[in-house]
């Protein structure tokens, strides 16, 4: 019946709020409120119940062996610690999450590289007032006019002028 040391990790609630996507805000809030309820209940319950004053009872209860009997049974009673079936599930979920996060990180890195490359290309083009139309078509291929598809001026569908 001795109390066990509770190993709680400190939570940064700001960071917790940041990582929740918008459509799961209610679930996150319920998690947070559960946490608060449990902490308050934990605070109100002392770690162990007060000790029973056996001497007093032994002196005052008339029936002979009653108090001794109670005392023996009370000391022999072991209250079962409730078993923890759920931490394993949370750990498994966390492992999957770590894996998907690693995947996301690598994808994100490739995306960043792509963006960096485009940015470099944009930075390195010559200033516009020194460009010719050919240079413009090289830098921005979408400006190139297709002379085979539209053989007559303006070489592009009229709606896009």
């Amino acid at each position: 019946m001795a109390g066990r040391k509770l190993a709680l990790k400190t939570i940064d609630w700001v960071a917790f709020g940041e990582i929740i996507p918008r459509n799961q805000k209610t679930i996150a809030n319920s998690l947070k409120s559960w946490n608060e309820i449990l902490t308050s209940r934990l605070a109100t319950l002392p770690e162990a119940p007060p000790a029973i004053d056996w001497a007093y009872y032994k002196a005052n209860v008339a029936k002979a062996g009653l108090v001794d009997d109670f005392e023996k049974k009370f000391n022999a009673l072991k209250i079962p610690v409730p078993e923890d079936k759920f931490t394993a599930l949370v750990d498994a979920e966390e492992k999957d999450d770590v894996k998907s996060c690693a995947e996301f990180l690598s994808l994100s890195k490739t995306r960043i590289e792509e963006y960096e490359r485009q940015l470099e290309k944009l930075r390195n083009i010559i200033p516009f007032d020194q460009m010719t139309i050919d240079d413009l078509n090289e830098a921005f291929p979408e400006t190139k006019l297709d002379n085979t598809k539209y053989p007559y001026w303006p070489h592009q569908p009229i709606e896009s002028l």
Binding site: L8, L31, L42, V61, L66, T87, E116, L122, T132
Partner: protein, 256 residues
């Protein structure tokens, strides 16, 4: 020759006309060589901002500089005047009605260009600048867009570091719930045992009190029974006498 007029008046226009520099004052400048050897000189160096200097709008400055060492400042002018007089007197150039029209047309043109040339050039420049500004805007917008995308990705990567808080909260909740249950069980056991013991004690106390009361009642009953009628009469008479005495004493006192 009118080309020179147009080029010198509309100086910094249309940089995309590659050939303008070729026909223009580059003939005597000879700083750039076109259409020689390898065709790709990209990026093409920028065109000069202004054309070569000309005097009287026609004759390039280099001619005057060329004649200066031999004939001084007035040399080319004397040459020009002499040539014109020579052409007129020898009738190499014949004065016809065309001359009058030429003079008036050229005069009008020179006047118009001198008066409005600058403003027209400015207008053309502004159009060009607007085009370039639009392109520049597009370029800046796409660069900003890409930069924002990169920053967003970096922020997401930072958030990934904080994912573990979610699971920490869940684990904390589970641990706390278990602990709370365990403590509640402890407390319940204590309460139950205490209740039972207290019940025994309070039952004993109650029995004792009841016995006491019963005994007192029994003793009183017996005493009352034991008082015989004779004793009762005597006690009552004595009480009345005592009361009379007390009454006398009480009456006597306030008089005093």
């Amino acid at each position: 020759m009118l080309f020179r007029v147009v080029l010198s008046a509309a100086a910094a226009a249309a940089p995309s006309l590659k050939n303008a520099a070729l026909l223009g004052p580059g003939v005597l400048q000879a700083t750039r060589i076109f259409h020689t050897g390898q065709p790709s000189l990209a990026p093409v160096p920028p065109l000069p901002e202004y054309g070569g200097k000309v005097r009287l709008g026609l004759i390039p400055e280099e001619f005057f500089q060329f004649l200066y060492p031999k004939t001084g400042v007035t040399g080319p002018y004397m040459l020009g005047t002499g040539l014109i007089l020579y052409f007129l007197s020898k009738e190499i150039y014949v004065i016809t009605p065309e001359t009058i029209t030429t003079v008036s047309t050229v005069g009008l043109l020179v006047y118009a260009i001198k008066k409005y040339g600058a403003s027209v050039a400015q207008f053309a420049d502004k159009l060009n600048e607007q085009k370039i500004a639009r392109l520049e805007e597009v370029k800046q917008a796409s660069m900003k867009y890409i930069q924002d995308a990169i920053d967003f990705e970096k922020a997401q990567q930072a958030l990934v570091q904080k994912r573990h808080y979610l699971f920490d909260v869940q684990r904390n909740n589970i641990a706390m719930a278990l602990e709370v249950t365990y403590r509640e069980r402890l407390h319940r056991v204590y309460k139950e045992v205490k209740n039972r013991l207290d019940y025994h004690i309070s039952v004993q106390n109650m029995m004792r009190r009841k016995e006491q009361e019963h005994m007192i009642n029994w003793v009183e009953k017996n005493v009352v029974q034991s008082i015989s009628t004779q004793q009762e009469k005597e006690t009552i008479a004595k009480c009345i006498q005592d009361l009379k005495l007390l009454a006398k004493k009480a009456q006597a006192q306030p008089v005093m």
